[in-house]
């Protein structure tokens, strides 16, 4: 208080010097009052300021304030989330203020990195997300909640608790490393899975150079800045409890044939094959003897799929006698099982899934005194996945506090200690790549329904019963992971000190860090139930630790004279992205399979251990920022950052990234005053550069040798049981590689219309990444195992429109509404690669022989490439009239002769679509009636395609004959069903059937999802007061209630593990319906 008062005095004196003639002096007096919210509850922590001065105070825990002022003063009341209110003091001594919830983005205060700005004065492209939008669903990683909330941000995620997601700010700037930089309380990180959503106070997304290049080198893919709750000074202890309980329902799988249809269609395939080969179908069925269904015109559904390995038994079996022979332990000799046919059909998707409970609770303590403030958060989240033995647990303690050592010196810290356990996660890059994996979800769609989960004596049943090819029992696979454990312990945070040596100048130093350690162990069963089994019981364990640190020093000087506001920032930062070790050990065949017995020591045989170390990447940076505004009408921003990184050699390690931006509040111009429906209108523009180095290995600068047992060992002595590891050239260095630079252009409009009822933010942007780092396309003659150097050759262009529209109002007196629409249009294009090249030859992922991806010049990243299916051949005439095509026959896929040369070959492959959505958006609608609130949130993704590779398995007989068949195959082509789009169901595997990537697999990925519906009730203050509480809200929510899509896979949210390689669905983990009940309490 004293300090504020004193500094205000000084400021007044200063202002006097400038504009003394206007000074009017009046008598000081003390005014007191209470600030309440729209429900009449007092609001603590509201900033009360004498307008035009820095004199101010905060309301206490009861919403009360006292301030010295004069009759002529105007008091302004501001609080995050509420509209500011201004009241002329006049003769009043007691002022009652009611603040209204703020839906006007313009009044927001946004944390933009090293500083805090008012949205009114922003010149760059910055979006913020309300804290409440991050907590409505119990997701394991808060980044998922950004989906559709922030224009310009694309989030593709899946249903696995604890998964990472593909989060892209304004498209794909590079061929890799496009994940945004996260800043949590000033400390940079690549992973925010530790964050508890209830601890978050602000979330800000910096999208263009003008806003993000203060983070320079690592800002090219956007910056997402989180701050956590901090407590307020002079506030009584405030205890909050936020609890959410619910469950996720697994939903339905893909429709697969029941046992009868499956048997019939197996026989249909044999008939169709015979017809295609010009053979007699009746004779073919007489010869073809299915191990289970026999031969002849109609299949016989057996009673037993296996009795001691003999398939297709019809009749009764002496189970007592068989039980004596039963053995499912490979150590004890041959396997002997009796497997009954499940004539009712096993729903394998149902068998591997469950109604999965979830809860999240957070206990928050916040408060503060004259010289300190604090927030302590205790949180626990336990979320089971719909897949068995897939779960996430996170327990965290967060302590944020700040102390005034002196009036002008503050010391504080934001520290979180986290225990996190994510189990049963599949997919590379932390779960992100799951859609492209042959995982247990795919297995569930490959297991024929006639196979039961268990044999008659309780062991697992599976394709060891002959005739069903090679799917592995997914229930056994999931249950086999029951004892797997992996957990990480971590400490994340910073300590800082701030000094105000002279008024307006703040010096700040912060030391932050992130320490993580991980331990885990996995067991692998010795399988017996499948046709293809492993042959040992395996055990592995792994350990790692890493420590990253950041030191930041900044000086911030705010100067205000008259209508001029100047804000200067200069800073220095040094950091290491994380140094540490990791190691693992594994082996096979412990004497006992009891997990309590097993350790590495107790294994019968072990492989050589693995270990590796990392030193992390060092960055050293300097940056500065100037903001100037005049009357909030003309605003100018300049920012520059110079970064050095150990990723690059001495020659090229420094990069300078400047940006400039300006805004013009056109609504403040006299000529706009007559336009009554415009309350506020600001035009912004920015231009600048951001850097990126994520996509280059720090070793890129060196030519190196190395080796591993897998890549370069040899049994030179002929010992038969050991190999010496040799060295080969692992890397060709490029010491001239330098920063990628994204040049961004942004023009935006912030507008407030119709008395604040309509709030519009729109940005037109373009991001042109030049000097794009790209692995030098060198021929295999240099050694394909040698990492070719990354060189700055390519170029990528992203452009789009970001839009956020909010409207609010009252239907009737008490019935209020608020609707927010966000939308992002995105166009991504690879505009240049190495001279003479037309695509990235280095990226050609294969999915069972399908190679659907090509990163092509002049097309979006990760585009689908292959043959265009024009339809199905109808008859021999159709085949002979068409261009020559290998394997062509009636009912098979007819490809387009793209180059018109009369034959279908490699040269007829072409662009088949892109997984990059052209438009993503969200629509949030809130209705409030007295204490009741109803929220609905919808998300849509349009214009993206999905390559549904799972259909290779489910729609084609030759793709592992005997595995399950999708119900849709019933509508496949036959000579009498000529309008079909699904090819004839037959055995041939060739160019015209299942052998090659083509547009049959490419599906429309458009969808609209109702992501959340919440009904809440906030008890009125009068009632809550009686219970000595400050807040009580209960709510019920449903997530993902419906998804409207034509996509035939499980879920259209198909991501991938790499930007050059996504949109492939082999077995996506769906986002399914989730129901929760919640409680928010405050004391």
């Amino acid at each position: 208080m004293m300090k504020v008062y004193k500094s205000s005095r000084r400021t007044l004196l200063f202002l006097l010097c400038l504009i003394s003639s206007f000074a009017v002096f009046a008598q000081d007096k003390v005014v007191s009052g209470t600030v309440k919210d729209e429900t009449g509850s007092p609001i603590p922590g509201v900033s009360v300021l004498v307008k035009g001065t820095t004199t101010g105070t905060l309301t206490d825990a009861n919403g009360q304030f006292r301030i010295s002022t004069k009759d002529t003063d105007v008091l302004s009341f501001t609080f995050v989330g509420y509209s500011a209110s201004e009241i002329s003091v006049g003769s009043q001594t007691n002022i009652e203020v009611s603040l209204k919830p703020d839906v006007t983005n313009l009044e927001e205060v946004v944390v933009t990195g090293y500083s805090v700005d008012k949205r009114r004065e922003l010149t760059g492209a910055v979006s913020s997300v309300k804290a409440k939008d991050l907590v409505f669903a119990p997701t394991g990683n808060v980044e998922q909640m950004l989906q559709g909330r922030v224009p310009g941000v694309t989030v593709i995620t899946n249903g696995q608790p604890g998964t990472t997601s593909q989060v892209r700010v304004r498209g794909f700037g590079a061929f890799g490393g496009n994940q945004p930089l996260y800043i949590v309380d000033g400390v940079p990180t690549a992973d925010i899975s530790f964050l508890n959503p209830d601890d978050i106070e602000t979330t800000t997304v910096l999208k263009d150079a003008a806003s993000a290049s203060i983070y320079g080198a690592r800002a090219a893919s956007g910056v997402i800045v989180y701050t956590t709750k901090r407590g307020k000074r002079n506030q009584k202890l405030n205890v909050t409890y936020d609890g959410m309980y619910g469950f996720t329902s697994p939903g339905k799988g893909i429709d697969m044939m029941n046992p009868t249809d499956f048997a019939d269609w197996t026989f249909n395939a044999i008939k169709n094959t015979a017809v295609q080969n010009g053979a007699d179908p009746v004779a073919a069925l007489a010869t073809f003897n299915h191990p289970q269904f026999g031969k002849g015109p109609t299949p016989v559904i057996p009673d037993y799929l296996s009795v001691g390995g003999t398939p297709g038994i019809t009749g009764t079996v002496d189970l007592d006698a068989e039980k004596l022979k039963y053995n499912v332990d490979p150590r004890k000799g041959s396997i002997y099982q009796v497997i009954a046919a499940n004539k009712g059909g096993t729903d394998w998707f149902k068998e591997i899934t469950r109604n999965a409970p979830v809860y999240r609770q957070t206990l928050g303590f916040s408060g503060g005194g004259e010289s300190h403030r604090f927030y302590i958060g205790l949180s626990a989240q336990d979320q089971k996945g719909i897949l068995l033995n897939n779960s996430l647990k996170r327990y965290a303690i967060r302590v944020n506090s700040e102390f005034d050592i002196l009036k002008n010196l503050r010391v504080g810290e934001n520290i979180q200690v986290t225990y996190r356990q994510a189990l049963g996660l599949s997919g590379s890059s932390g779960g992100q790549g799951i859609a492209a994996d042959e995982n247990d979800i795919l297995s569930a769609f490959r297991m024929p329904s006639i196979i039961p989960v268990h044999d008659v004596f309780g062991g697992y049943a599976g394709t060891a019963a002959k005739g069903f090819n090679n799917p592995r029992n997914p229930v056994a696979s999931r249950e086999g992971q029951a004892n797997d454990r992996a957990f990480s312990g971590g400490v994340y945070g910073n300590i800082y000190a701030e000094l105000d040596p002279i008024p307006g100048l703040t010096l700040r130093t912060s030391i932050g860090g992130n320490y993580q350690d991980v331990f885990g162990r996995n067991y692998s069963r010795w399988q017996y139930e499948n046709s293809e089994n492993n042959s040992a019981f395996g055990f592995s364990q792994f350990q790692s630790y890493s420590l990253a640190w950041t030191v930041t020093n900044t000086a911030n000087y705010k100067l205000k004279f008259g209508e001029h506001n100047i804000d200067l920032l200069a800073g220095q930062e040094a950091l290491n992205t994380g140094a540490g070790w990791n190691s693992s050990q594994n082996g096979i065949n412990p004497f006992s399979w009891d997990p309590n017995y097993i350790n590495i020591t107790n294994l019968a045989s072990t492989n050589p251990p693995f270990s590796s170390q990392s030193k992390g990447v060092n960055f050293s940076s300097y940056f500065g920022n100037v903001k100037y505004s005049f009357k909030e009408k003309y605003i100018l921003g300049l920012v520059i950052r110079r970064d050095g990184s150990s990723r690059f050699s001495k020659n090229q390690r420094y990069g300078v990234f400047p940006a400039a931006s300006a805004a013009w509040r056109i609504s403040s111009e006299p000529f706009m005053q007559s336009v009554s429906f415009v309350n506020d209108l600001k035009i912004r523009g920015g231009y600048g550069a951001m850097g990126n180095s994520n996509n280059v290995d720090p070793l890129n600068q060196y030519s190196l040798y190395g080796g591993s047992v897998g890549n370069s060992s040899y049994d030179i002595t002929g010992a038969n049981s050991k190999a010496t590891t040799g060295f080969y050239r692992t890397r060709i260095g490029n010491d001239e590689a330098k920063w990628e630079t994204s040049i961004t252009k942004n023009v935006g409009i912030d507008g407030l219309f119709f008395g604040g009822k309509l709030d519009v933010i729109v940005d037109f942007w373009q991001k042109d990444t030049k000097d794009l780092l790209y692995q030098l396309p060198i021929t295999s003659t240099a050694g394909p195992n040698t990492n070719a150097p990354f060189v700055n050759i390519a170029r990528m262009l992203n452009k789009g429109i970001d839009l956020a529209i909010t409207t609010k109002g009252n239907f009737t007196g008490d019935l209020k509404y608020e609707a927010t629409l966000t939308g992002s249009w995105l166009k991504n294009e690879i505009t240049s690669i190495a001279p003479g090249q037309t695509y990235l030859t280095t990226v050609n992922p294969g999915f069972r022989g399908l190679n659907p991806i090509r990163n092509q010049l002049n097309y979006p990243i990760s585009s689908f490439y292959g043959y265009i299916v024009e339809g199905l051949f109808q008859d021999a005439g159709d085949v002979s009239n068409h261009a020559t095509q290998n394997g062509a026959a009636a009912g098979r896929l007819k490809y387009k002769d793209v180059n018109g040369d009369g034959k279908i070959d490699d040269n007829d492959r072409t662009f088949m679509g892109s997984p990059v959505p052209k438009f993503t958006g969200g629509f949030n609608f809130i209705l409030r009636w007295k204490g009741i609130d109803l929220t609905a949130y919808m998300y849509t993704s349009l214009g993206g395609k999905i390559f549904n590779a799972s259909r290779w398995f489910t729609d084609f007989y030759p793709s592992f004959q005997g595995a399950a068949i999708a119900t849709r195959v019933k509508d496949s082509w036959t000579p009498t069903n000529t309008g079909a789009t699904i090819p004839i169901f037959e055995s041939a595997s060739n160019f015209s059937t299942n052998q090659i990537a083509n547009s049959y697999y490419v599906e429309n990925g458009n969808y609209l999802r109702l992501q959340n519906v919440t009904v809440g009730y906030t008890f009125p203050a009068s009632m809550v007061d009686k219970w000595k509480m400050t807040k009580l809200r209960v709510y019920a929510a449903a997530n993902n209630l419906f998804t409207i899509t034509k996509y035939k896979g499980l879920d259209p949210g198909v991501g991938g593990n790499a930007d050059t390689n996504f949109g492939i669905d082999v077995g996506n983990y769906p986002l399914t319906k989730q129901y929760t009940l919640g409680l928010n309490l405050g004391f």
Partner: protein, 653 residues
């Protein structure tokens, strides 16, 4: 106030100190010099130990590592394309191989690039060692230099030879050219090298240096020796039809009587292993027949050392009762099985009448393993069925219907059925090597037996998809039950990984190549000696596959050849290569160099096409096109990198 100021100054100083210290620390230029971890720079490899390790890496690459298509076993490129075996398995499994066996290869196929890449990786590693040798460390003696150079060039010649056979001419790069220009007399521009020069002189030159400088024996058996270089050089000359030069080289390692003269690197005089089966036995690695073999090893921490290219090439659905368990790839063809037919005198059916209806082998196609006979069908006279007899589980029984009958069980209905396959005399005579090369029903499958259940290969039950790929399983390079866990590796997803060395050149191969050279420019008598040495070894009754009762498992009749004239000798030696070396990756390349690929392969395709109900060769498009299919297409992605002006596509693609 003064206190306050002091405190303020103090705290300011503290803050400034923190800021300045961190500033200074990060300002140091060395702050951005982060050391390299887990890798070495070239300087560390110039010493003797470093060079030794660089050499190991070249040897390591010979098997193609994880690239199943890059192995010198050439199971797809030599054996499947040559008709020894089909892809096997299911139609859609690893469907990239389907167009290869149908001669519908597309230049964009990944399997083709894999062959290319595996060999160029080996070349790159050899070039890396040769570059390191330009500035060796002080502890490297001249003798060391010579040894390293000779080994590196041997291996480089091998990789180029593999490329030459598969693709024709490919870009020739040696240690004097690299990606980026750098010191040491190395030019840049490796990516601009055209494929317009004949590789053979380069291959010859490298192999000659190896030949001139390699020692007769080596301290480590895995290292190539003079004998290996001699044989390989002979093979190269033979491919070039330089018979004189080839003969000269073969003469250095073979005596005119067909016995060995040179030595293996572990100091064994070359010779034929007495029992044919022991050539493919892990416990008998590095035997006298092993001129150059890839040293395979199990349980090393990576199955890439344990013949990873064969991990799919095993019987199916065996559970723990059989080896490998997955995935029924590489099933010998009907035609290959028939090729082992001999006449009653023990001579092969060189007129290819082995594929005729009268001579082709009776197989268990469409007959279930051990299932009780279901007497529902009606059988015509002379119908044959196979019947598994629980009383004699070790023997296959084939019954012929004596009269039309209503499907009585031949086991109990002696009046209607005649058992035709119990006496050797009633059995078709066969080359004994069939049952070392092909797993077929009724014949013991190495030592894979469980007396309570089966003593012989059970047939259909161990075949993944008989209607698609026929009744046979591969048998060479299969591990023995007694070697489970020691010469076999259980640490991966499937058990089919072994420590059985793969013989890239074995003495029998050399004998037959030497015979070819003799036939062209030398003595038919010597050629006959060489060839009959191979046949006589096969004829050793001690090596016959035997039933539990100790009798031969089938009617094995094999006798030495007599050559009537040069043409006859050619035919016989060529046929001998087919049956001796089946499944070892030679056949396709042999057919191409003999100029007989068109007739042989199209005859094979026409026969095989009708043998299965669903098979990959059913397509009428499965045709060998002379002038085109002798070579693989140059991988399209490689052409796309450097344009068609630099890398010229092979004719027809």
């Amino acid at each position: 106030m003064k206190d306050v100021i002091n405190k303020r100054i103090k705290s300011g100083v503290i803050l400034a100190v923190i800021a300045v210290v961190s500033l200074l620390y990060s300002c140091k230029d060395s702050f951005l010099d982060v050391p390299v971890t887990g890798n070495l720079n070239a300087g560390l490899l110039s010493g003797k130990l470093g060079l030794e390790n660089a050499l190991i890496a070249i040897y390591s690459q010979v098997n193609g590592r994880a690239g199943r298509m890059a192995s010198p076993s050439n199971w797809v490129w030599g054996s499947i394309r040559g008709g020894d075996a089909g892809k096997g398995t299911d139609p859609g499994d690893f469907s990239d191989i389907n167009p290869i066996q149908r001669f519908e290869a597309l230049a964009s196929q990944g399997v083709i690039l894999e062959k290319w890449n595996g060999n160029y990786e080996g070349i790159a590693r050899a070039n890396a060692l040769l570059r390191l040798l330009k500035a060796p460390g002080p502890d490297v003696t001249d003798a060391d230099k010579i040894s390293y150079e000779a080994q590196a060039k041997f291996l480089r010649a091998h990789f180029y030879f593999e490329l030459k056979r598969a693709f024709g001419n490919t870009p020739y790069v040696d240690e004097n050219i690299d990606v980026l220009p750098s010191a040491g007399g190395v030019e840049g521009g490796i990516e601009k090298v055209k494929n317009d020069i004949d590789l053979y002189p380069k291959i010859e030159a490298d192999m000659t240096i190896a030949y001139n400088n390699l020692p007769v024996t080596q301290s480590q058996v895995g290292k190539v020796n003079k004998g290996a270089a001699t044989a390989y050089l002979g093979k190269i000359f033979l491919y070039e039809k330089k018979y004189t030069e080839a003969k000269a080289k073969f003469d250095e390692i073979v005596n005119p009587d067909g016995t060995g003269k040179g030595k293996t690197s572990n100091d064994k005089t070359y010779g034929l292993v007495p029992l044919f089966a022991n050539v493919f036995k892990g416990t008998n690695d590095n035997n006298e027949e092993s001129i150059w073999a890839y040293q395979s090893a199990a349980n090393t921490g990576s199955v890439n050392n344990a013949n990873p290219e064969f991990d799919l090439n095993w019987p199916y659905n065996t559970g723990s009762d059989g080896p490998g368990n997955c995935c029924s790839f590489f099933q010998p063809t009907f035609a290959m099985g028939n090729s082992f037919r001999t006449d009653a005198l023990g001579q092969p059916l060189l007129d290819e009448s082995y594929n005729s209806a009268a001579n082709e082998l009776v197989t268990d196609m469409s007959i279930e393993t051990g299932s009780p006979w279901k007497a529902t069908a009606e059988f015509a006279k002379d119908a044959t069925v196979s019947r598994f007899d629980p009383a004699k589980p070790n023997q296959e029984r084939v019954y012929v219907a004596l009269a039309k009958n209503t499907g009585n069980d031949p086991l109990t209905d002696a009046t209607n059925w005649k058992l035709v396959w119990v006496e050797n005399t009633a059995n078709p005579p066969m080359d004994p090597r069939i049952d070392h090369s092909i797993g077929r029903r009724g014949i013991p499958y190495l030592d894979w037996a469980d007396p309570a259940k089966y003593t012989a290969f059970p047939g259909k039950a161990w075949i993944r998809n008989q209607p698609n790929a026929g009744p046979y399983a591969t048998k060479k390079f299969v591990y023995y039950k007694t070697d489970k866990g020691t010469l076999q590796d259980n640490t991966s997803w499937t058990p089919g990984y072994t420590a059985i060395n793969f013989p890239i050149i074995r003495f029998a191969d050399v004998l037959l190549m030497a015979a070819e050279a003799e036939i062209e420019i030398g003595s038919l008598a010597t050629a006959l000696n060489y060839t009959n040495a191979v046949r006589n070894r096969a004829a050793n009754p001690a090596g016959f596959v035997k039933d539990v009762d100790g009798t031969p498992a089938a009617n094995y009749v094999i006798t030495p050849y007599v050559f009537t004239d040069q043409a006859d000798a050619r035919t016989k030696v060529r046929f001998e290569r087919k049956v001796e070396l089946s499944g070892e990756g030679h056949r396709f390349f042999d057919l191409v160099r003999w100029g007989t690929a068109n007739t042989e392969l199209n005859a094979f395709l026409n026969y095989e096409r009708n043998k299965t109900q669903l098979g990959a060769l059913k397509s009428p498009d499965a045709v060998f096109h002379p002038g085109k299919d002798e070579l693989l297409p140059i991988p399209q992605p490689q052409i796309d990198l450097v344009t068609a002006d630099v890398l010229k596509q092979n004719p027809g693609f």
